[in-house]
Symmetry: D2
Subunit: 363 residues, 4 copies
Amino acid sequence: MSHNTFGHLFRVTTWGESHGPALGCVVDGCPPGLKLTEADLQVWLDRRRPGGGKFVTQRQEPDQVRILSGVFEDERTDGRVTTGTPISLMIENVDQRSKDYSEIARAFRPGHADYAYFAKYGVRDYRGGGRSSARETAARVAAGGVARKVLGEGVKIRAALVQIGPHAIDRDRWDWDETLRNPFWCPDAVMAQQWESHLETVRKAGSSTGAVVEVEATGLPAGWGAPLYGKLDAEMASALMSINAAKGVEIGEGFAAAALSGEDNADEMRAGNDGPIFLSNHAGGVLGGISTGQPLVARVAFKPTSSILTPRRTLTESGAEVELRTKGRHDPCVGIRAAPVVEAMTACVLADAFLRHRAQIGG
Amino acid sequence: MSHNTFGHLFRVTTWGESHGPALGCVVDGCPPGLKLTEADLQVWLDRRRPGGGKFVTQRQEPDQVRILSGVFEDERTDGRVTTGTPISLMIENVDQRSKDYSEIARAFRPGHADYAYFAKYGVRDYRGGGRSSARETAARVAAGGVARKVLGEGVKIRAALVQIGPHAIDRDRWDWDETLRNPFWCPDAVMAQQWESHLETVRKAGSSTGAVVEVEATGLPAGWGAPLYGKLDAEMASALMSINAAKGVEIGEGFAAAALSGEDNADEMRAGNDGPIFLSNHAGGVLGGISTGQPLVARVAFKPTSSILTPRRTLTESGAEVELRTKGRHDPCVGIRAAPVVEAMTACVLADAFLRHRAQIGG
Amino acid sequence: MSHNTFGHLFRVTTWGESHGPALGCVVDGCPPGLKLTEADLQVWLDRRRPGGGKFVTQRQEPDQVRILSGVFEDERTDGRVTTGTPISLMIENVDQRSKDYSEIARAFRPGHADYAYFAKYGVRDYRGGGRSSARETAARVAAGGVARKVLGEGVKIRAALVQIGPHAIDRDRWDWDETLRNPFWCPDAVMAQQWESHLETVRKAGSSTGAVVEVEATGLPAGWGAPLYGKLDAEMASALMSINAAKGVEIGEGFAAAALSGEDNADEMRAGNDGPIFLSNHAGGVLGGISTGQPLVARVAFKPTSSILTPRRTLTESGAEVELRTKGRHDPCVGIRAAPVVEAMTACVLADAFLRHRAQIGG
Amino acid sequence: MSHNTFGHLFRVTTWGESHGPALGCVVDGCPPGLKLTEADLQVWLDRRRPGGGKFVTQRQEPDQVRILSGVFEDERTDGRVTTGTPISLMIENVDQRSKDYSEIARAFRPGHADYAYFAKYGVRDYRGGGRSSARETAARVAAGGVARKVLGEGVKIRAALVQIGPHAIDRDRWDWDETLRNPFWCPDAVMAQQWESHLETVRKAGSSTGAVVEVEATGLPAGWGAPLYGKLDAEMASALMSINAAKGVEIGEGFAAAALSGEDNADEMRAGNDGPIFLSNHAGGVLGGISTGQPLVARVAFKPTSSILTPRRTLTESGAEVELRTKGRHDPCVGIRAAPVVEAMTACVLADAFLRHRAQIGG
């Protein structure tokens, strides 16, 4: 992984700041001949788009994606197809509300990337967080749309929130369809209601709360991922940890595996009609860094955003001690918007793993 | 990250299997002029070496590391120094006990990489796990020794076990010195005793148990790590997840951050004599993917090893259903041996971050 | 080097086709705090722009470059400066003349990339050469403008044509100023006139001719470039050979070195006030892949373009034998336009070498 | 390309110095299931081995290669096969003649990498040239042997010397079999005799001379190589220019293309039974950076070695002006030994191109 590029063969390079004219990405290494239109990508961007509810930022962005290169249509291709050359995707920034940044221009929000960027670069675009803004994740979601095309219909990737603040779902009530019915990607209808009242409290207090997102990918074959440093779970860990506000990643049992015995953690195998059947999936679909054919399961923990109304002690760029409260648009729980981003990053990791596998093994 | 290489500028390529003649690594990109002898590396290998207690594998390996290239001595250098060319490190395998692998040669250990390797490559070196063996981590530890030289005395990296099985330490009893007094890298003297009896039970049952390792790096300046896909925490996540048996990685508060409010999670800042002082370290030393100057804190969860005496249902390579129990040398808790590996990977990530930072920013 | 990215630390990813809506690049890894405006880049694009004479393609493109990210201005920066984040540059395609591509849509121009693209990808954007068009080099030139900022005023890079068709310059008449006075980047005033009449003949015949471009970089210190596979000359070779129509690259004496004796080829050294003085520069400024502090000198050979009026035997996509002549806009000598591209690629290679050197060695 | 690694998917990392205990390489990304023994590699090393004649260095090295990892044999594999894990190859240095390096330890040989290494690293292993020694190419040749296995029997790679000093072969007398009959890899029996007397004169004078090597690869399909920065010819240029003493690389017509007209340079196509037939091969098998299915043809120019008996003016490390003549073993023409290295690098580039192509396109 390079600074602003991820992936090895399916490579995504993103660019853009919160308040610049646009943001976007270049997707390189995509196989040729795949049907790809802007509408194919827009569907994923629309799922990510803020403004759908009162619990995500009120910034209004249409997030219309444009494909600037890498697809072509003539009478023989029956629609626009990828050509194998780089796919440039661009999303214009529209709602760059002219607001007063004079305060955070000089003071660092505690818990925010403000200070770290300044310490590293000596200069920072503080408007809306600049490069560290979650706006950048729109480019990831667009790239994820291309990755899904590479993976094809057989691989299904979907994410759900399993915890907001201290409130975790009841896995016995898990229903994937439910994630489409509430604004929290919550698979537990009962918990969705509890989250709503929790978030209402948080929002009114000008506070924020963390969350945990779980992603599942089904339909991938055994064999993807390559030991030792390109392990599928290591690639997932890197990709998911690179999402704004992520603080932890786990695969399968994850941290719970530490408390298990070898007997309980082993996924026993029986012979099935189409290859091995695993009797459990503690591994989360990865052994030795290679996919087993079972569903890939990962979770990501997101911290609460640092933009809150309660004054916090901090410093200015010149080192003066001040108290700072972040006014303006707030996101009480950034983890909510992260769900489609987690899906997109998973799609990109898997598309990359597929191409790498095909390179070494063929088929 | 490539398959068997990690790092961008401080690059480590490892090779070798459990039962081949040797294993090793090539460290490329090391700055010139650093004092480096085999003894400098041996000290870390000796800490990792199994055989020190009855709770780690009984394989007896001297793990003598040889430096085959990249250092030079003449009358002007006052001892052996790095030359800026690749440093090749080799460790011979000595105790490749001639044992009967006929059973696991054909059957997959449930929960082990056996099946995944076979599904991917169609061929596997099953002796001792082949490439998936924890023997490979000796090469990581050797490379970590070089990384520590790059970082210098100012950066201090140390790891401790904070949980074995269901038994977590009491952080109020944390004493780093204690980690050197017990065979478990346990910073809590009381818990060390409890772990001993727990592991004795596990060992006698031919079972195994998981663990959580925590690593802390102090002395690194603010500014290391580069957004967005080379974030310091993303690099840590990838590096730590690539260690054998790792199933989860978290930074700072990690998964606990999901339950926090923005007020509680914010690390407030005050002016100190030598730059900012943070009043807490929920972030674990990283904001926006860049180091803040606070201690870098990460944790890794390790699953229990799949090599256990209790028979488990599994398949042979030809698809027949069998029951398998793993005879021979056992590691009741692979997490114990992982502590120096976690340190080494952290050192490598930081050395790489240092060089990358210096490239872009200078100084 | 990845497919559409070059450089290791100063990384340029280009995208776009001849007849798409736009083309551009993302420059990643640029140090922060460098003054950078669109005008700084436009000056180089204007030098490359076709339409300046009758001996380059008549396509009229303003080639206005836009900076979409990576620079920021506020009251403290005294103008727009780089922030260390990715710099996205975009150039819109304006003069995509609606022409009839029906013929080359089906037949492969002999000597052109048409067939190879089709054989590889199974689909190709044949309009104006698609991705293989020299339009793409506008993105390289823009990136080169950023690279020059990284290198600073001390490093001077300039290119000249030293041969067109069979007509080579007389090096005794070399005058760099002359390259700015004629449309051929010719340092030899006498030869410039001869080239003019030669090219007039070529143009009238609907033919084309090859050329050799020489580039010189002065002001770089000794020490840049890193053996063995990142040698400065190997990086130059790769970068220059990636330019459209390039067929050969040489450093210093180049192919002529094969005929020299060791005595004649050795660049003897004497002590100067500011370090060593070399008494000759057969090496072209590179020894062992590392810069010596002497001027870096390289040459690139460009073949004649395959778009000519004389009918040539070829095949259609379906394999039928046809004769093809390329109508429309022609470039009698693509090497002429290549000069600023050669400069730009050299700038990018050196900026990358500078950052890589600083990473490993510091300073 | 990283400093000491080349290739993207078929990756070779080399290490070692002229007078260290050993040298070697790690080959990563090799497909599994390929038969591979040490004898398969030794055959190529034996071809490269100095000592075969009086016109190459008299250093006596058995150059026995050992495979330390990445291959496995059991009853099912019918011989040793690659496992898909890293292949570590090691060659011990045996004839490190204890000679007096006191002179070149302090003075830089003009035209040699001595000064550049010292300027960059501040320290250098001057014994036999250290890392810059041609001994390192043994590792390339070993890796090339693995690459040939990846390519299979269908791809044939062979090199010949076409020029030594000012004496170029007559291409009308080209006979590949002849290259195996004389010690100069000369395909022209008449010229081989002329070279012998020329080299005898050079050797007696303690002088040296340059050379040009041509390599041809047949049997590769159309479609390998990927625009724009991973063009097959750009990869070849980089790989060949990285060989010791290389100063120029050209593809097909190369520099001669500059003098051609578009009509003469175009390779016309006719329909054949097995796809297109080209009526000429000015392109050298590459168009737009992609193989055409024609033979890949490249040439590399090698300078004369700087180790000569005639005193040359130079500096010591401390800046004193001295005269230096290089005593001891000499190589009157390093280009002779380069032929198998050129073959090996070509094999590695093609193996990499094959895997990259398979990744993106499949099949």
